[in-house]
């Protein structure tokens, strides 16, 4: 069940070119949020609750431009779960158009109307008796003689949902390898900070690539799938998670499929309702049904899908069924 919270913005920092990290006080959403889920954010700050008479407030419309909410992944959750006063959610977002540009102007102290947590989220480790750690991913098989190993591959701001996931997997006793690619090192600070803290807590190893060579290997993140420097990290992977540009995710899917490794991808598309009511975010599944194509809702059936479930690619929505 989604919650609607008037969330006070506690911190809002520019953390790279066009990149912002925003922390909000949203105890109910924070307590319920699982890695891979998202929140649907009204980018217009809520007017002060004390402004105007009750009738004026009841009659007043919200700003209509842009009209729709913007979906943002849960980048991290902080504060004790269920801590009514303290639980916070953090977003990492890139300014793309009018909506995210308006959001970037929101100041600490302002309040935002946020709905969440929404969507399916990543498959998470289930306790497996006999596993090496206390927990092992159910999909890694029940007879593990070692900690299950998850590979997380994020391109650009697509890393956002993978950071919370990495921390959750590490906390559950998994070995976690993160491949993270960006344009340049200055985009990576928010993620690096969090993954460094997390790697101190558990088993997280991070490899980076940048297009300009300012951090890690020069090139794109999928180069790491064949690079010598990451070869040892590619041994015995039990599960792959990826989020980022679709051509990137398509390469990751090919890599995983070729090795018979199961995995999940997280998709983006424009949303309207965000809760599964409008069927506006439809994404065609590979399998056909009796009535022809079958569509899934990115907001409700996704944004996380099993590898192989949907066709990935830059123009997948158009090239399909060009009758």
């Amino acid at each position: 069940m989604p919650y609607l919270e008037i969330a006070r913005v506690l911190r809002h920092d520019c953390v790279g070119p066009g990149l912002h990290e925003m922390e909000c006080l949203a105890p109910r959403i924070a307590a319920a949020a699982a890695p891979g889920q998202f929140a649907h954010v009204n980018v217009h700050p809520v007017q002060g609750v004390s402004e105007g008479t009750p009738e004026e407030r009841a009659l007043a419309a919200n700003s209509a431009q842009p009209l729709l909410r913007r979906p943002l992944s849960i980048f991290d959750v902080a504060g004790r779960r269920g801590d009514a006063d303290g639980a916070r959610i953090t977003f990492l977002y890139k300014v793309r158009g009018a909506g995210t540009a308006l959001l970037a102007d929101v100041r600490p102290g302002d309040c935002l109307n946020i709905m969440g947590p929404l969507g399916s989220g990543f498959s998470l480790p289930a306790p497996v008796p006999g596993g090496h750690g206390d927990h092992a991913p159910a999909h890694a098989g029940a007879t593990c003689d070692r900690a299950p190993h998850a590979l997380l591959i994020g391109g650009g701001v697509g890393i956002a949902p993978l950071v919370y996931l990495a921390r959750a997997l590490a906390a559950a006793g998994c070995r976690v390898t993160v491949f993270y690619g960006a344009n340049t090192a200055s985009e990576m600070q928010a993620v690096s900070r969090r993954l460094l803290t997390a790697s101190a807590e558990g088993r997280i190893e991070v490899f980076t690539t940048t297009l300009d060579g300012s951090s890690g290997r020069t090139g794109i993140v999928t180069d790491l799938l064949t690079a010598e420097q990451s070869a040892s990290a590619l041994e015995r992977i039990d599960f792959v998670y990826t989020c980022g540009p679709e051509p990137m995710m398509a390469s990751v899917e090919r890599f995983a499929t070729a090795r018979g490794i199961p995995g999940e991808v997280s998709l983006e598309t424009a949303l309207a309702c965000g809760v599964g009511a409008c069927l506006g975010c439809a994404r065609r599944l590979k399998a056909n049904g009796e009535a022809g194509p079958v569509y899934a809702r990115v907001c409700k059936d996704g944004p996380v899908f099993s590898m192989g479930q949907v066709e990935l690619g830059p123009v997948v929505d158009r090239e399909e069924e060009s009758k």
Binding site: M1, P2, Y3, L4, N42, P54, E55, A58, L59, A60, A61, N62, A64, Q65, P66, L67, L68, R69, N113, M115, T269, A270, L271, A272, C273, G274, V275, G276, A277, C278, L279, G280, C281, A282, R283, R284, G289, E290, A291, G292, P293, V294, Y295, K300, D317, R318, E320, E321
Partner: protein, 307 residues
């Protein structure tokens, strides 16, 4: 006057609504997607997603595009078909005591009548909204809604197939909406629902192609409110049937405008995407407005702006 003594009940062509706020078809699924924020039994009625005789996959994506103060959609009536609706979606709504208005669409007049007959036998349906105005399907839909004689035929056929209240939903994509409304009234409609979306388009200038996979789509949201309001005002003066009015409602003020233009109840669609709890705020806002002016019931303002 205290807010509690305001009477919000209205009668929409034989359907008793506890309050005049109705969730618009296609924007509230089958009633439970917003559970906890708006429960289906809390609003006056829920118009469920448009249902056809057989399942429909819907149009190819992208299906939505945001436009100034509004949005375009080209969903294409994706739905599991009338049998699955009755078997799997309706019981839960009935158990919750929701007032359900089924929204139906057909390719032919006979299909409308067949679906209506199935609904007639299904417990838990309070009325049938006839979508003769969907801009997103190749056949039926808006093509029926553009011609007064066809609208009359659909209404007559459906009235024969069911004893449930029948509410044709009119398309604004016509030259003279009053003529269509009159034809529906003459054919025996119990109420009129208006307006459906306005046909429009947007172009992605980077890709140099239409923003929607289906090229054209239906415009909804605040951008269409002045048009919707004008049409309700015109139709309310021309016919004697109650009107379910809407298009672009995003606050209680908008809803009150529709009531004053002659609508007996209002429908909220796109506004719910913006503000998921909007329907509850609108119900409260209408109640407050009436209480402060010592108006005992909603009926006191229905049509109040008509000279």
């Amino acid at each position: 006057m205290s807010v509690d003594s305001v009477d919000l009940q209205v009668d929409l062509g034989g359907i008793k609504l506890a309050n005049p706020v109705v969730m618009a078809s296609g924007t509230f699924g089958y009633g439970f997607d917003y559970e906890g924020l708006i429960d289906p039994e809390m609003v006056g009625a829920v118009c469920v997603k448009g249902t056809t005789l057989l399942p429909r996959a819907g149009n190819k994506p992208p299906r939505i595009a945001e436009t100034p103060c509004g949005m375009l959609n080209s969903i294409g009536l994706e739905n599991p078909g009338i049998d699955v609706f009755v078997r799997e979606r309706l019981p839960r709504l009935r158990e919750r005591g929701a007032t359900v208005i089924a929204n139906i669409a057909g390719d032919t007049i006979d299909e409308y009548a067949q679906i209506a007959a199935v609904l007639d036998a299904a417990p838990g349906v309070a009325g049938i909204e006839l979508n003769v105005s969907c801009p997103n399907v190749a056949r039926g839909g808006m093509h029926f809604g553009a011609d007064p004689a066809s609208v009359g035929k659909v209404v007559r056929a459906v009235k024969q197939a069911t004893s449930l209240p029948v509410i044709p939903k009119l398309s604004p994509n016509v030259t003279d909406i009053v003529a269509i409304a009159k034809a529906a009234e003459d054919a025996g409609a119990d109420a009129i629902s208006m307006i459906n979306t306005l046909l429009g388009m947007a172009i992605d200038i980077e890709a140099r192609r239409p923003a929607l996979g289906n090229v054209f789509g239906g415009l909804s949201g605040p951008a269409i409110k002045p048009i919707a309001l004008r049409m309700v005002y015109q139709v309310a003066q021309a016919i004697d049937l109650p009107i379910l009015g809407g298009g672009g409602i995003v606050c209680a003020r908008d809803a009150i405008e529709f009531l004053m233009a002659g609508a007996t109840a209002v429908s909220i669609g796109t506004g719910t995407f913006v503000d998921p709890a909007l329907a509850m705020d609108v119900i409260d806002g209408i109640r407050d407005y009436l209480a402060r002016r010592n108006l005992s019931s909603v009926s006191r303002i229905v049509g109040a702006a008509i000279a």
